[in-house]
Structures are given as structure tokens and as C-alpha cells.
């Protein structure tokens, strides 16, 4: 059975103090219509103006774009408390020789947030924050209208994201993922790595996530030029307890060069072959299937 967001929040010691408040909020929210088929009501001009004024008072995530300055791979400084099946998987895991995303298939969450190289940009509108991630050309839609998750979200690469503000921190709760989103479940010990391997993916353990993977991201400005996103992973097929990753950091760019650009992925001459674990190269067949 799929756990409810409230029970999961109470499971996280870092969020424990807020448990009661969250439960109350959830009770109130549960009485509101949140079914995707429920009729939406347009705001009046005055209501809309009031909402925009409220938006104007929020922390400034909006100017410019955000470029990752964290390594692509997440570090797992505290050893996760893995389930037996995850331990079994890790025991027989062979590190990828090369990038598993050297093709045009979307990465999905959570790893799409790790790629960097190209910036991401937040947009705000009443009831929704959008986050365009250039390195995948995809946009996350974060609902801030007070809804709760669908009982059975249709699975997608970016999941169903619901956000709310806790002071200056945007808390984004996401679930409802397709099985093939790229998921880093841990990191190999440094002694297991090839010496001098310059790959930013060396030591990464990619693996399958469970059907109820849920992410809670806490996004806040450390200062005007620095955004921090701290993610906690809930997946009881992998971790016995929710795992809190160290924050990832992004720097603000406001020059023209930092503006977002289109990402259309069309040329797949090199690709990762999961059957061999190697990066393959095909200069002749531009229509390389993925």
C-alpha cells in the first residue's frame, strides 16, 4: 500500500517537529477538491492581483538562471541503511564504464537535477512554479495551489510535484515516476575505484527505484547568487529509512549568455550500450536508435 505523504513526513526525523502542523494542514487540504478532473475556478481580477503581490514577496529564485556547481554524482557521506535486495544489487553491481545518458532519452528525476553543464530557470505564475532544465529540455511543473498528490499519479519522467513555502524555503514533494528514470542509489567506496579515473561518474551506483519513489526537495537561497537544493529520498525498496543527501549548489547567472536555450536532442552518434556497459560509437548511422 502506498504510504500517505503525512505518514512519510513523520518518518523523517528532520521533519518531525513539523509533523503535527503538517498533519493539520493535510487534514484541511484533504477536504479541498484535488482530483485532476475537478473543475477549476478562474480568479477574479482582484484575486489575481493579490496573488501576484504575494508572489512578489517570495524569495527571488526568478532572476537569471542557475548553473550547477556541484559534481554530477551525489555523494553519500553517511552510509545508507539499505534493504536486503538493494545490498544484493550493489554486491553484484559493475560500475558503468561510461555515461549512461549519451543519448537522447530523458533522464527524469532525480538525476536530471544533477547534470549541470547547462542552466535551469524558474518561472512563477499563480498556483504553479515551473522549472526549465536545459540539459534535458524539460520543464518541471510544481503545483503551489495547495493540492495533495493524486491517489494514483500517472507515472512520468518528472513525476507529480507539489510545492509549498516554509519560510524562505520552497519544499517540493514529488512522486509518480516511470521505472526508467535515472536513479543513483549510492556510491562505491573509493578503494573500489580505478586510481586516477577522471570520470565524474566513477563510483556512481545507478540502479532501479521502486514504484513509490518519492523525493522531498528543500530549495533555498544561501545568498543572492547561490541556490541550494537538499533532497531526501523515500524509497523503501532501496533504503530502510529515508535518505537525506547533502545539498547541491547552483550559482546565478544574469548575463545574456546565461539565458535559457532550446534543447532538442537529435544526433545520437555515440550511445551507451547497456548490454556491454560501454560507450559505443557510430559515425555513419545518424538515426541510431536509442
Amino acid at each position: 500500500m502506498k504510504p500517505t505523504p503525512v505518514s512519510l513526513l513523520r518518518d523523517d526525523p528532520a521533519l518531525g517537529l513539523r509533523g503535527c502542523v503538517c498533519a493539520l494542514v493535510a487534514l484541511v487540504l484533504a477536504s479541498l477538491p484535488h482530483d485532476a478532473r475537478a473543475a477549476a475556478v478562474a480568479k477574479s481580477k482582484d484575486e489575481l492581483a493579490k496573488t501576484w503581490r504575494e508572489i512578489a514577496a517570495l524569495p527571488d529564485f526568478w532572476q537569471g538562471t542557475w548553473q550547477s556547481v556541484s559534481p554530477i554524482a551525489d555523494d553519500f557521506p553517511t552510509p545508507p541503511d539499505y534493504t536486503p535486495s538493494a545490498l544484493q544489487y550493489i554486491k553484484s553491481y559493475k560500475p558503468v564504464e561510461d555515461s549512461p545518458f549519451a543519448n537522447c532519452k530523458p533522464l527524469g528525476l532525480p538525476f536530471v537535477m544533477n547534470i549541470g553543464g547547462m542552466p535551469m530557470k524558474f518561472f512563477q505564475s499563480p498556483g504553479m512554479i515551473a522549472l526549465y532544465i536545459e540539459s534535458s529540455g524539460m520543464t518541471r511543473f510544481i503545483h503551489t495551489d495547495g493540492r495533495v498528490h493524486d491517489a494514483l499519479p500517472n507515472p512520468t519522467f518528472l513525476g507529480e510535484s507539489i510545492g509549498h513555502w516554509e519560510g524562505d524555503t520552497l519544499v517540493v514533494d514529488t512522486t509518480g515516476f516511470v521505472p526508467e528514470t535515472l536513479f543513483q542509489m549510492g556510491k562505491l567506496a573509493s578503494k573500489a575505484l580505478k586510481q586516477g579515473d577522471p570520470s565524474p561518474l566513477s563510483g556512481v551506483i545507478f540502479g532501479p527505484h521502486g514504484p513509490h519513489l518519492r523525493l522531498v526537495e528543500r530549495m533555498r537561497l544561501a545568498d543572492f547568487n547561490t541556490l541550494e537544493i537538499q533532497t531526501t529520498i523515500y524509497d523503501d525498496t532501496v533504503f530502510k529509512r529515508p535518505y537525506s543527501l547533502p545539498p547541491r549548489r547552483f550559482i546565478r547567472g544574469i548575463e545574456r549568455r546565461n539565458e535559457p536555450q532550446e534543447w532538442a536532442c537529435t544526433d545520437n552518434r555515440d550511445f551507451f550500450d547497456p548490454t556491454t556497459g560501454k560507450l559505443e560509437y557510430n559515425s555513419k548511422d545518424k538515426a541510431q536508435s536509442r
Binding site: Q67, S68, V69, S70, P71, I72, E97, D98, S99, F101, A102, N103, C104, I115, G116, G117, M118, P119, E134, S135, P198, S199, P200, L201, F250, I251, G253, E255, R257, N258, Q261, E262, W263, A264, C265, T266, D267, N268, R269, D270, L279, Y281, S283
Partner: protein, 141 residues
């Protein structure tokens, strides 16, 4: 110097790149004629025909960063035209195939463009700070 730069900055931004295929510890310099310049995501591809010392022609396929990243480092799709004579610093494939990873391109009009692949997030957001005036690699013959 080059080795240090590559190692220190390779933790970010080789988003879609291959990592093990190319020998990042060495640069070689190709001199040749552009056969194809593909400006597309996830990677640009520059195909250069090199006339070797023995008189035969060899086709090299060179992978670059994404156009998105290159634009932020001053590149324009029109900078390279088929038929251009170019010099290119590259990291070549370890297995000896005539493929490589773009490092710096020296164009016939004197323009020099560096590939932003492997650079830090700060450098990607800030643009290139230093461009060599002439090729840095060992000439390929």
C-alpha cells in the same frame, strides 16, 4: 599544465560526453579540411579530412560539447564551413581509431574557439577566460 587543468575541472559538465573513450592526458593537433560540421544536441560533430605524411587521406570524427554550451563560450554555428582549412587540438581515442574529442579549434580567419566540455560550473556560467593563440598539441602526421 593541460593535464592538471583537465583533471581539476572534470567533475562537472561532461553531461553527455564519453569519459573513458578519449585520452584526456594528451593533446594532438590535426591539420585538415572540414568535411562536415554538425551543430546538434547532444553533441556537435566536426569531421575533418587529414592528409597524412604518406599522402593518404584520413577522416577524423571529432565530438564537441552541446551547441548550448558552446554558444555560451562564444561559438556560432556559422563559424565553421565545409571546406575550411582548420587546425584542431583534440584528445584522441585510446583505442587508436581516428576519432577524438574537440579541445580547441583554430579557424582560417584567425578566430580561436575553445570547447567548454569538462569545465567547472563557474567557468561555464562565466565564459572562457583564456584562449591559446596557437595549437598546443603534438602535430599529427
Amino acid at each position: 599544465m593541460v593535464v592538471i587543468a583537465v583533471l581539476c575541472c572534470s567533475s562537472v559538465a561532461y553531461a553527455h560526453h564519453s569519459f573513458a573513450l578519449f585520452d584526456r592526458s594528451k593533446l594532438i593537433t590535426l591539420t585538415g579540411t572540414v568535411r562536415e560540421w554538425k551543430w546538434a544536441n547532444p553533441h556537435t560533430w566536426l569531421t575533418v579530412v587529414v592528409r597524412k605524411a604518406d599522402g593518404t587521406d584520413e577522416e577524423w570524427a571529432l565530438v564537441g560539447s552541446s551547441p548550448n554550451m558552446m554558444i555560451r563560450w562564444g561559438w556560432n554555428a556559422a563559424d565553421i564551413q565545409v571546406g575550411d582549412k582548420v587546425m584542431v587540438d583534440i584528445h584522441r581515442a585510446r583505442d587508436g581509431r581516428p576519432i577524438g574529442e574537440l579541445h580547441t579549434v583554430f579557424l582560417p580567419n584567425g578566430k580561436v574557439e575553445a570547447d567548454p566540455g569538462g569545465q567547472s560550473g563557474e567557468a561555464l556560467a562565466g565564459g572562457p577566460t583564456h584562449l591559446p593563440s596557437k595549437p598546443q598539441g603534438e602535430p599529427y602526421k
